[in-house]
């Protein structure tokens, strides 16, 4: 992919820098997790929950900076806590969405409050909101890889029951699928994906990385598995493409990543409209 653009030696040098290699690796791990989980999030009609979780995680991140503990720890704890609360709210969509939205608003406010309590947290706020994929560390890369391995193993084990409970919840329940347990499990997995994806594009733009590629893939494919593969590919193309373009024409990577993802989605929507 990069070979087509090798005419500019300057940005090739940048791309070969260690922090850039980490960014590409992070993009790979984030894409795999987002591609798998995105399909289920749409099938379960939990896309709003995924957006909300990222925001609920915000005070965790700024709070972690305040306390001097790793940002990922704060993100993960708050996202998981939020995920379990949303899971407990059940599947009654209207009530759940109001409660989720209310908690989202409060959490965002709390995130700002924590950020203003210390100057270091305040400096971190922008990178948490909009992401900073160029500052991913080696330790983060290892934790992303471990998360992806666990995710793939878990998904291989629960794939069909999770699919059944996502697409035909009442029937799955009647057939003895533990839908309540799977709901909690899925929300916990979603919290994990949010935790690893926030460093790349931030809490505000995460929807475009977890949900939008899966929505595009749903238009292009007919099977759940194919949708996950294609969503991963679109996500990867967006992140890697975003990194390359943002290096060629200096721009915030998050902006370019999200733009690519949204443009692909727009094209898919046109394709879908013409097909029906």
């Amino acid at each position: 992919m990069t070979s087509a653009m090798t005419y500019d030696p300057d940005w090739m040098t940048t791309l070969n820098a260690a922090f850039m290699q980490n960014a590409f690796l992070a993009g790979l791990f984030i894409s795999l997790a987002a591609g798998i989980v995105g399909y289920f999030t749409i099938a379960r009609k939990s896309t709003f929950a995924s957006h909300a979780l990222a925001h609920i995680a915000l005070p965790g991140a700024t709070g972690a900076v305040l306390l001097g503990v790793p940002v990922e720890l704060g993100l993960g704890v708050f996202a998981l806590g939020g995920a379990l609360v949303i899971a407990a709210l059940g599947k009654k969509a209207s009530q759940r969405e109001i409660a989720t939205g209310t908690v989202l608003a409060f959490a965002t406010g709390l995130g700002l409050y924590f950020a203003r309590m210390s100057s270091s947290a305040s400096q971190q706020l922008q990178s948490i909101l909009f992401g900073s994929i160029l500052t991913i560390t080696d330790d983060q890369i290892i934790s992303f890889a471990v998360f992806d391995v666990l995710l793939v193993i878990l998904m291989a084990f629960i794939y069909r029951p999770l699919l059944f409970s996502s697409l035909d919840e009442p029937v799955a329940r009647a057939k003895g699928v533990p839908t309540g347990l799977l709901n909690v499990l899925f929300m916990a997995v979603l919290a994990g994906v949010i935790t690893i994806a926030v460093p790349a594009v931030g809490t505000l733009l995460i929807f475009a990385l977890v949900i939008t590629p899966a929505a595009s893939a749903n238009v292009l494919t007919t099977s759940p598995f194919a949708a996950m593969v294609v969503a991963t590919a679109i996500c990867l193309f967006s992140i890697w493409g975003g990194l390359v373009v943002a290096t060629m024409f200096p721009a915030p990577p998050s902006f370019v990543i999200v733009t690519i993802s949204v443009v692909i989605w727009g094209i898919c929507k046109v394709v879908e409209k013409n097909r029906n």
Partner: protein
């Protein structure tokens, strides 16, 4: 109980004994005592909020009973669900995720299996067979999101069929479907009942489409579910109370029967208000003996409905002739349980 079961085949499919369900402190229904014969086609009828879907959920063991018992296919409710096909009313909801008809049906076979299991050729063939049975094998690879409500409902039925259930439960299978799709669905249900001898239970608020295949009905009238065979359900006065609005049973010269709201002509002599009996008055309708003594205070309704009711009586056993005698037996049983229950009140 005068009649005892003679062979395992004649064992009732569903037996409820004084079953009751509560939502919080509110009793949805109680004193549910009925038997649904194996091989029958039963409607669950009642007004909105009478607890029709609750009945399906109780029979599936998805909600706990607050009293009594329900036995399905010889086991306590919920334990024989592997042999039950369930079609909820979800085919109307929007589907955003990509999924073909065939994959949806396959979930009926593989959806409750944890672990890594690639789909086998045999499972694929079975799913196609189920789709073929409901007449949409050619659309197996079409996305659900591109299908009409009627087609998606057939996919849902195929998904329920693919595990070869003995009992099929459908929640409002005819709602939101156009006339042709309603006919197709009824035709599929009739085929399943006659060819595969499946016992079928349908939640319905419009009985007309189902009348030709119906053996009987569970009616949720006054908070107590009861079973009645079809000739007893097709009683204008019973239906009037069931729906809380004046209903008449009409028979065409061709022998088809219809349940219709009373025509405007009758409103000249009628107050036009819905018939609203108290529970005490309504219990008289449980007797099914044709002498509705309690209804003297509703003389206009009586006059309007009675001639139609009588006209239908000789044809009561006409629908579902093959299962009629079994149904009549079941009715005798139900009625004896029934009158003893009424006496207790």
């Amino acid at each position: 109980m005068t009649k005892t079961t003679t062979s395992p085949d004649e064992q009732p499919c569903i037996v409820a004994r004084d079953a009751a369900v509560k939502h919080g402190n509110r009793t949805v229904w109680d004193h549910g005592t009925f038997e649904i014969p194996t091989g029958s086609v039963t409607a669950i009828v009642g007004t909105n909020g009478a607890g029709k879907t609750t009945m399906l959920n109780a029979e599936l063991g998805l909600i706990p009973l607050s009293g009594g018992s329900i036995t399905v296919l010889g086991k306590p409710a919920g334990e024989a669900n592997a042999q039950i096909g369930y079609v909820p009313q979800t085919y109307t909801t929007e589907i955003d995720a990509s999924l073909t008809a065939l994959q949806s049906v396959l979930l009926g076979l593989t959806g409750n299996r944890f672990g890594f299991h690639p789909v086998t050729k045999k499972q694929q063939a079975k799913a196609l067979e189920a789709l073929d049975y409901v007449g949409i094998a050619k659309d197996a690879n079409l996305r659900l999101s591109q299908m009409s409500g009627g087609m998606r409902q057939r996919v849902a039925i195929a998904q329920a069929l693919v595990s070869e259930p003995k009992l099929l439960m459908l929640d409002e299978p005819l709602a939101n479907l156009d006339l042709q799709s309603q006919h197709t669905t009824v035709h599929i249900l009739a085929k399943l009942n006659q060819e595969l001898h499946m016992t079928i239970q349908v939640v319905a608020h419009d009985l007309n489409m189902l009348l030709p295949i119906l053996t009987g009905a569970i009616y949720l009238l006054d908070g107590h579910p009861h079973y009645a065979c079809v000739n007893e359900v097709l009683d204008a006065k019973l239906l009037t109370h069931l729906y809380g609005t004046t209903v008449q049973v009409v028979q065409t010269p061709q022998g088809d029967m219809f349940v219709t709201p009373e025509s405007d002509l009758h409103f000249g002599t009628n107050t036009g208000e819905a018939d609203t009996h108290t529970v005490r008055e309504v219990t008289h309708f449980h007797e099914h003996n044709g002498s509705h003594a309690a209804d003297k205070d509703h003389a206009d309704t009586n006059n309007a409905a009675a001639p139609h009711t009588e006209a239908t009586t000789p044809h009561c056993a006409a629908p579902a002739a093959t299962t009629a005698s079994a149904a009549m037996d079941a009715c005798a049983t139900a009625q004896s349980t029934h009158s003893s229950a009424s006496e207790e009140q």
